[in-house]
């Protein structure tokens, strides 16, 4: 778009745009909350109380706030796992499966090399988590790059395979003899636990996630890889004819996405659970997809939206406890938010990046 003369200063433009974006986002969430409230009302619940509970239990106390941050960590990972492949027009809906396989291989490391010191064991588990996630992503990536099967449907189907594999190991070879009622692996040794901060459950994964977010931003903006990825995103055939190795990019980028999702699984079981148990993820992979879409793959947007979705998701816990609603109900609020974003009139759309 060509610039017109009489340009205001960059700073004031930036502030104006940021304010406009904030107003747009606030309006989107206002509409989403009102619609969600209506559905709760129809279901015979008190919507005002439910929404008040959601906010007071999360933003109202230091502990509540720290729990939102804890939920935000895997979401940043899984959002990057979707956002990075989306730059080369790959649709990775398999974050959930990649997360499980990351956790699975990291658990193998934690159980097998339990004697290692912490400085060796934790990096090993992270590496294994990344390998687990990227191996899971490699299958759809390879099939897509060969032009055989679209990655959207394969990543989705594989989400249903990974949790079964994990459950098989928990009920089979890795089952802890101590606990008959709730099948799970034995507790990890202390060296396999990511350190936490300030007496809360906020853990080292936060630093890693934020670091990856900065790295993602830097690579996209300042490196040749980022430039080539943007070229592929713009026009894959033109990029290929200009000598960009399209096939290699498709496979490697989706595998890196899988690796990041694997890290989410590794950090969850290492820092939060301290063991592998079935169904430990309440849909972090799917929520990451949502965050990536809502933020348009923009790093700052991922940070903000991860926080918001973590807030909504923590609210889901509260709704479950205080109102006796199933946890899955929080998906309604997530979905309505996405509906409003997808279906909003042009007035509420930001300018195209």
């Amino acid at each position: 778009m060509s610039q017109i003369t009489d340009i205001p200063s960059r700073t004031s433009l930036f502030i104006l745009n940021a304010l406009l974006a904030l107003v747009r986002y606030l309006f989107i969430f206002l509409v989403a909350f009102v619609l969600f409230g209506l559905i709760l009302l129809i279901a015979g619940k008190d919507p005002i109380l439910a929404i008040k509970d959601t906010f007071s239990s999360t933003l109202g106390s230091t502990y509540g706030f720290s729990e939102v941050i804890v939920k935000m960590i895997p979401l940043i990972f899984t959002a990057i796992a979707v956002a990075l492949p989306s730059r080369v027009v790959l649709i990775n809906v398999g974050g959930e499966g990649q997360l499980y396989m990351g956790a699975w291989l990291a658990t193998w490391g934690a159980l097998t090399f339990a004697a290692l010191p912490v400085w060796a064991l934790l990096p090993l588990m992270m590496g294994l988590g990344m390998i687990g996630g990227s191996l899971w992503a490699f299958i759809p990536a390879f099939l897509r790059a060969r032009g055989w099967v679209n990655e959207t449907i394969t990543t989705l189907l594989m989400n249903y395979v990974a949790p079964s594999v994990v459950t098989f190991f928990i009920y089979g070879p890795w089952r802890s003899p101590g606990n008959a009622l709730y099948p799970q692996t034995v507790d990890f040794v202390p060296a396999a636990r990511l350190p936490t901060f300030f007496g809360t459950r906020v853990h080292l994964g936060l630093i890693i996630a934020l670091g990856l977010l900065v790295l993602y931003w830097f690579i996209m903006k300042y490196t040749r890889w980022g430039l080539e990825m943007r070229a592929i995103g713009g026009n894959p055939q033109a990029a290929r004819r200009n000598g960009i190795p399209l096939t290699v990019y498709l496979i490697v980028i989706l595998c890196i996405g899988g690796a990041v999702a694997g890290l989410a699984g590794m950090s969850e079981i290492s820092a939060i659970h301290g063991r592998l148990r079935p169904g430990f993820s309440p849909g972090f992979g799917y929520m990451g997809f949502l965050i990536s879409w809502l933020s348009g793959g923009n790093p700052m947007g991922i940070l903000v939206m991860s926080f918001v979705i973590a807030l909504i998701s923590s609210g889901g816990d509260i709704l479950q406890i205080n109102q006796g609603l199933p946890f899955a109900v929080v998906n309604i609020l997530l979905a309505i938010t996405l509906f409003v974003v997808l279906g909003r009139p042009a007035l509420l759309k930001g300018k195209k990046a």
């Binding site: 279901a43 449907i153 594999v165 799917y286 899955a328 509906f339």
Partner: protein
């Protein structure tokens, strides 16, 4: 293995394949009109929960089936509003509908977890009852099973032998051309979505009202996505969709056979079999299927203004 247990396996293959056939037929209608509905999983869940709740409240499974169909149609219209009227991205909108279905079905079904209902009555076809080997309780099926193949043929007839079907396929190939030929692409896409939703609702109703006769959160367990995959497998053709559904039913039967034969395989690994088979089938057919897809599949019709 006795004859009885083999018949049992075939019977459960038929039960399992039926809901999938309806869902695949519904998705075929959508995709022939150029719309990919990844939200099918959510649509099935909402239909299954609504159908079960209504059947439980009224005590009448037939009303439950109708309610499930209507719920499926309405869910697809909601999806249609996003992708047709608001021209939003189909894949993202589909996943939004999926999330919505996850949540809404959990909310609707919450008070019905563990409830019992009168399922659709099961009967044996008059001709078959004279064969003693088949005249067992396992070969009594509900009306939705008997109707599945006739409905598949009906959808084929609608798509390939009627003016409406021709218009619908034209919209899926090139909406602008269809518009130039005097059709209303958006109206036809809405119709395709609504009818597709009714069919998905039938499939979900079969799952919760006729087969399992229970409601459980996430009970469809990825059937919506398997149906989307089977549409590709069947080359967007209703008759071949029958083969796809039989394949899936066969996968479930194979799973049961293995368990019945006493081979020690973990049930958790067996659970992954249908999904892996679906992926393998897509790989095997993948390369040759591409040109069978409607040309404008997934593309947003921008209108003519």
């Amino acid at each position: 293995m006795s004859l009885l247990s083999i018949l049992g396996v075939i019977s459960s293959a038929i039960f399992s394949g039926t809901s999938l056939l309806y869902a695949t037929l519904g998705e075929t209608l959508n995709e022939r009109a150029g719309i990919v509905n990844l939200g099918l999983e959510g649509v099935l869940l909402v239909s299954a929960s609504v159908g079960f709740a209504v059947a439980s409240q009224t005590g009448n499974p037939n009303i439950g089936v109708l309610a499930a169909m209507l719920a499926g149609g309405l869910m697809n219209l909601l999806f249609g509003f996003l992708v047709i009227t608001r021209r939003a991205n189909q894949l993202a909108s589909g996943l939004a509908v999926m999330f919505f279905g996850f949540g809404l079905s959990a909310l609707i079904g919450k008070s019905y977890v563990g409830a019992r209902i009168n399922g659709l009555p099961r009967f044996i076809l008059p001709g078959l009852s004279s064969i003693p080997a088949l005249n067992t309780s396992q070969f009594k099926f509900d009306v939705l099973i008997y109707l599945a193949v006739p409905i598949a043929i009906l959808i084929w007839w609608l798509l390939f032998r009627t003016r409406w079907g021709l218009s619908l396929r034209a919209v899926g190939e090139n909406a602008n051309t269809a518009f130039a030929a005097g059709r209303n692409p958006q109206l036809i896409q809405y119709q395709a979505l609504f009818f597709g939703g009714l069919l998905a609702g039938l499939g979900a109703a079969h799952l919760s009202i006729a087969w399992t006769m229970t409601w459980a959160e996430f009970m469809t367990a990825g059937r919506g996505f398997i149906a989307v995959a089977l549409v590709i497998f069947s080359k967007w053709h209703p008759i071949r969709a029958i083969a796809g559904a039989l394949l899936f039913g066969g996968a479930v039967a194979f799973q049961l056979l293995l368990q019945a034969s006493g081979i020690a395989i973990s049930p958790f690994l067996l659970d992954t079999f249908p999904y892996m088979l679906t992926i393998l089938v897509l790989i095997g057919w993948g390369g040759t299927r591409k040109h069978a897809a409607p040309a404008s599949l997934g593309r947003v019709y921008q209108g003519t203004e």
